[in-house]
């Protein structure tokens, strides 16, 4: 082995590791046996395994934002500068005050929380502080992770999980058959089993053979990924891989720390191998009690001999390899306890005791000192500093099961093995054919015999749960926490099933299994997020005028994915002050607003009218060229779900606008109608939402502004003309959302800034969504979402007179359902405050405080010029209740206002201000 040259720290102590060692190997190499404290009882724990199944040696790695808690020391390769810290102890690992809980362990049985913490929920908040301090794993980092996580797709014919001999051969066969192959291995080295048990394959040393096969796979176009675990397998061989580009806590050279792969494979080959099972005896969790194969791994792969006087306890043949490896490394094998009857193992050359099982490990936090064994009925104590145990092997079938596979029971191996697969998934190697072993059951004091090391579940806990009636494995899991969290029962589940089966007097297959859910091995949350973090956690859509707005430093509003200005404050103005100033500018002079985010669709073709009259509830065919109208759209149930305007640009060419918030839904709906309900029509439908930028120019002076900009008379209300503004072709549409004479200018978004600047130069005041809300609420104009919420008909929204009486529109056939004549259906109304004060938005409309809600406030504002609170809302039978006095009451905000029901149109109800 190489010399120890890599500097790292554990709990602040400077240590050195040899290249290629895991943290666990390096700690053992440095004589460190105590590595952690258990979850519940704070029992001293050492290193049990040499792989991802490690339940004990969980550490926190890294510093600052790179801190990663609960990292298995057995799955972390030491790098220069590694900082590792033990967990769940105070003030130190060696002197942990929490370990006092061991003295009261009897008072902390399974289901302790459920039995103890009765009372008001508020008390939980009190208990929580103590529980979290006393129990738990490593704390989550509080700083932002500075590194990046990539998310990547991949496609292959064959994906092989596991690079042991079976996996390598399967991958090699596949590439030679011309298949595109991906081979993944969670270890840093290929074929780790060949490093544990070196032997020749195809006349080559195992490790060299593995490297040669991998090179052959790569040379034939295959991909070989190490430090990559398959975290989940779903239908159609869709599999996710979590690849560590650097070790946890390590600074990545290119900024990327992990990559999460989404792979679609034609076939998945699982060569996942097996996990060795612990034996269940008293104090089997003490530092110095290790899995047999793990001991062999440390000896043969990492050059570390974890003990000098060793007792090997086994139920099968494999552990004899460990005994031999230890003897070869110079350790003394005190005894081999073989649960099988003689002559098993008698020809091994070791001191073998048949029908022998371990009963109690002696020792403390710094390691075991002896093992009390039952030798066919008589007890004997063996002095030792290491116990290597082997309770058989559990095939890793989690991926097979996640993809809906079935399991068969292998009686010889006392293990579940993969059965039929739902998808094109097959299992090869030891995972399909585990070595024979027998099950010996638990020995020693049940309260000290651990089944689930990570969650501190003992045989006594299982027995208690069984006595209390928890027969289903699923219930028992949740009651005892068996197999929970990051451990997922890797080492403990089979022992637990065995115990339950024995109590029930049934076989293990009859006892059943819990559900296999991904991920089997923890996946970093960052890997799932990818680059979508912080301000990029969701897509941000920027309108064409975004940069221009940003230069004005507005108050932004995230309107769906869109980033839109809410107001442009001047000086120290608040949002409310800026919004009101901007709204007053529109009422008294002229304002301009970016409305580019409106949904826009061009509809062309000889059947365009026919199509639009299917989609719109209003008539369209009567529009002359150059004219437009307000319109709205219903679903098949006749309930209005969106509104907008429709403009006849040419005889067979229309522009249809609808709401920003409903744009994607409308695009889907229009496409559905076009392709499925009106497939035979000669019509083209194209979403031009982003092609056209749009600016609203509103206010009594808007007509003069537009005339100056276009050099022509402004179009009359609901007319559209072709024009040029700043040399840019544009449609000028006379339409108003504010209640003032107003225009919408639509033009190629590539020229957005030029047009905006030209309009602003005419003295228009930019206004944002806050002012727009004030203006449209005062005018009684609805918006999709709060007002048009998909629950009211056109009649109930006050739009009944505009409905195309000829029918033909989608939903027409259901308009006259009996339910729609119910006088208590909600209708759109206006509200005004009687006693001053504001009307709480979203509040209930009630006759008295505490009375039944008869409606709600959908939008609240004020009279822009005169002041005074007004609102709009939905009210049962509201159209016939104008003049009635109610309360707008918000119990959650403890706000109320006395209101009078009115028409929604508080401003210019006759619409005289639309016209010059």
């Amino acid at each position: 082995m190489n010399a120890a040259t890599i500097n790292f720290t554990f709990d602040g102590k400077a240590l050195r590791a040899r290249p290629g060692q895991t943290l666990a190997a390096a700690l053992l190499d440095n004589g460190t046996k105590l590595v952690g404290r258990s979850f519940k009882y704070h029992r001293p724990r050492g290193i049990l395994s040499a792989g991802v199944e490690e339940p004990n040696a969980l550490v926190t790695v890294g510093t600052g934002g790179r801190t990663e808690p609960n990292t298995r020391a057995t799955d972390l390769f030491v790098y220069e500068g590694l900082v590792a810290t033990s967990q769940n102890r105070w003030p130190s690992l060696s002197s942990d005050l929490g370990s006092a809980l061991q003295l009261v362990a009897k008072a902390l049985p399974a289901g302790f929380y459920y039995k103890t913490f009765f009372g008001p929920p508020k008390l939980w908040l009190f208990y929580e502080k103590f529980i979290r301090r006393a129990a738990g794993l490593g704390p989550a980092p509080t700083e932002i992770d500075p590194d990046r996580y990539a998310t990547r797709a991949a496609f292959c014919d064959v994906l092989v999980v596991g690079s042991g001999p079976a996996g390598l051969i399967a991958a090699r066969d596949a590439v030679h058959a011309g298949k595109k192959v991906i081979l993944v291995e969670q270890d840093a080295k290929l074929a780790p089993s060949l490093l544990r048990d070196p032997h020749e394959i195809e006349s080559k040393p195992g490790a060299a053979w593995a490297e040669d096969v991998a090179a052959e796979i790569r040379a034939n176009g295959g991909k070989v990924l190490t430090r990559t675990s398959a975290s989940g397998l779903w239908d159609d061989q869709f599999i996710c891989l979590s690849e560590k580009l650097v070790e946890p806590g390590q600074v990545p050279a290119n900024g990327f720390t992990q990559r999460y792969w989404h792979v679609r494979a034609g076939e998945v080959v699982l060569a996942t191998g097996v996990i060795e099972r612990p034996l269940t005896f008293a104090n089997n969790d003490r530092p110095g009690v290790m899995l047999s194969q793990a001991v062999r791994t440390y000896v043969n792969r990492f050059g570390v001999v974890p003990g000098q006087r060793v007792v090997v306890a086994t139920t099968g043949d494999d552990a004899y390899l460990t005994a031999q490896a230890l003897r070869d490394a110079g350790a003394e094998v005190v005894a081999v306890l073989d649960s099988r009857a003689a002559p098993a193992g008698q020809d091994s050359g070791f001191a073998v005791f048949n029908s022998a099982v371990p009963v109690t490990a002696k020792g403390g936090k710094n390691g075991v000192t002896a093992l009390v064994a039952n030798l066919g009925g008589t007890e004997r104590t063996f002095a030792c500093d290491l116990i290597a145990m082997s309770g058989g092997f559990t095939p890793l079938v989690h991926l097979h099961m996640q993809a809906g596979g079935k399991l068969d029971w292998d009686e010889a191996a006392q293990a579940f093995v993969p059965g039929a697969s739902r998808w094109n998934v097959r299992t090869v190697g030891l995972a399909a054919e585990p070595a024979p072993a027998e099950t010996v059951g638990a020995t020693g004091v049940a309260k000290q015999a651990f089944v689930d090391f990570q969650n501190d579940v003992t045989v006594a806990d299982l027995d208690l749960a069984w006595r209390e009636g928890y027969r289903s494995v699923e219930h028992l899991k949740r009651y005892t926490t068996l197999g929970m969290a990051t451990d997922q029962g890797k080492t403990g589940n089979m022992a637990a099933l065995d115990r339950i089966a024995r109590r029930e007097g049934m076989t293990v297959p009859e006892a059943g299994l819990t559900t296999f859910r991904p991920p089997h091995t923890p996946v970093s949350m960052g890997a799932l997020a990818g680059l979508a973090t912080g301000e990029h956690a969701q897509p941000t859509r920027r309108p064409a005028l975004y940069d221009l707005h940003a230069a004005k430093d507005p108050i932004w509003l995230n309107a769906g994915y869109w980033k839109r200005p809410r107001a442009y404050p001047v000086g120290a103005e608040t949002l409310a002050q800026a919004g009101l100033r901007e709204a007053r500018a529109v009422r008294s002079s002229v304002g301009m607003c970016d409305v580019s985010t409106l949904a826009k669709f061009e509809v062309q073709g000889p059947d365009a009218v026919q199509y639009l009259e299917r989609v719109c509830q209003t008539s369209v065919g009567k529009l002359a060229v150059g004219r437009g109208r307000y319109t709205f759209m219903a679903r098949e149930d006749s309930l209005v779900f969106d509104d907008g305007t429709v403009w006849r640009l040419e005889e067979n060419r229309f522009l249809l606008t609808s709401s920003t918030g409903g744009a994607s839904r409308m695009a889907t709906w229009l496409s559905y109608v076009r392709n499925h309900l009106c497939a035979d029509l000669k019509v083209s439908l194209v979403c031009v939402q982003e092609h056209y930028a749009a600016i609203a120019v509103a206010g009594p002076k808007s007509s003069a502004v537009m005339a100056k900009l276009t050099g022509a008379e402004s179009p009359r209300h609901m007319s559209v003309v072709d024009a040029r503004i700043a040399g840019i072709p544009a449609w000028v549409m006379a339409a108003s959302f504010s209640g003032e004479r107003a225009f919408e200018v639509h033009f190629d978004a590539a020229h957005a800034e030029a047009v905006w600047n030209a309009i602003e130069a005419e003295g228009c005041t930019p206004y944002g969504l806050e002012a727009m809300e004030l203006l449209r609420i005062e005018k009684g104009h609805m918006v999709v979402g709060p007002d048009i919420d998909g629950r009211l008909t056109a009649e109930e929204l006050g739009l009944g007179k505009m409905v195309n009486k000829a029918g033909g529109w989608i939903g027409a056939s259901t308009l006259h359902r009996p339910a729609f004549v119910d006088p208590l259906r909600k209708q759109f109304v206006g509200l005004e405050a009687i006693d001053g004060g504001s009307i709480p938005e979203g509040s209930m409309l009630v006759r008295w405080i505490g009375g039944e809600a008869e409606g709600h406030v959908t939008g609240s504002g004020l009279r822009v010029l005169e002041g005074g609170s007004i609102a709009i809302g939905h009210l049962k039978g509201g159209h016939k209740r104008h003049g009635e006095e109610l309360y707008a009451y918000s119990p959650t905000r403890k706000q109320k206002a006395k209101v009078r029901v009115t028409s929604p149109h508080c401003y210019d109800p006759a619409g005289e201000r639309y016209r010059d």
């Binding site: 998310t151 920027r542 062309q604 073709g605 439908l685 982003e690 978004a749 590539a750």
Partner: protein, 159 residues
């Protein structure tokens, strides 16, 4: 140092061509005006990309095809809604695998292939220009985000 160059080309005159009724007749007329056949599904030819069975994206001047359409179809301007981005260099295919769910590395995605697919949740239309370059039509409102995504991802591509 990355193996892919991300070049923002800006916007261009783009039109969506949609044919209806008897599309074969209209397609013949348009093809004659264009000087080549309209490309098949999933393909591009000249400055035309097939978007769906009845729609194409036409880049550049459409005066000639517009005159031949008659009542057989329509051309709708849409260039203001797209940023064009060229991805070039040996790793452009690899870059498209980041945040995507489409097999850009498949040999079937050859020169003049066209696909519209989500990348980092954004629907992008791709055209393979050559073995060394691909042109992406990105919704303008998402362009800033997607360019950031590509630039970051380009620095971490697997070797």
């Amino acid at each position: 140092m990355t193996d892919v160059t991300i070049e923002q080309l800006g916007r261009a005159p783009l039109h969506v061509l949609e044919l209806w009724g008897d599309p074969k007749a209209a397609a013949k007329r348009v093809a004659k005006a264009l000087g080549h056949d309209l490309p098949k599904v999933g393909k591009a030819q000249g400055n035309v990309l097939r978007l769906s069975p009845t729609t194409w994206l036409v880049e550049g001047d459409v005066t000639a095809p517009k005159q031949t359409l008659g009542d057989g179809g329509a051309l709708t301007p849409s260039g203001g809604g797209y940023e064009r981005v060229r991805l070039s260099g040996p790793a452009w295919r690899s870059l498209l695998m980041e945040g995507g769910l489409f097999d850009a590395e498949s040999p079937a995605f050859g020169i003049d292939s066209v696909v519209t697919t989500p990348i980092d949740h954004i629907a992008v239309t791709l055209r393979v220009e050559s073995e060394n370059a691909c042109l992406a039509y990105v919704p303008a409102s998402h362009a800033v985000d997607l360019l950031r995504f590509w630039q970051l991802s380009a620095g971490g591509l697997p070797r």
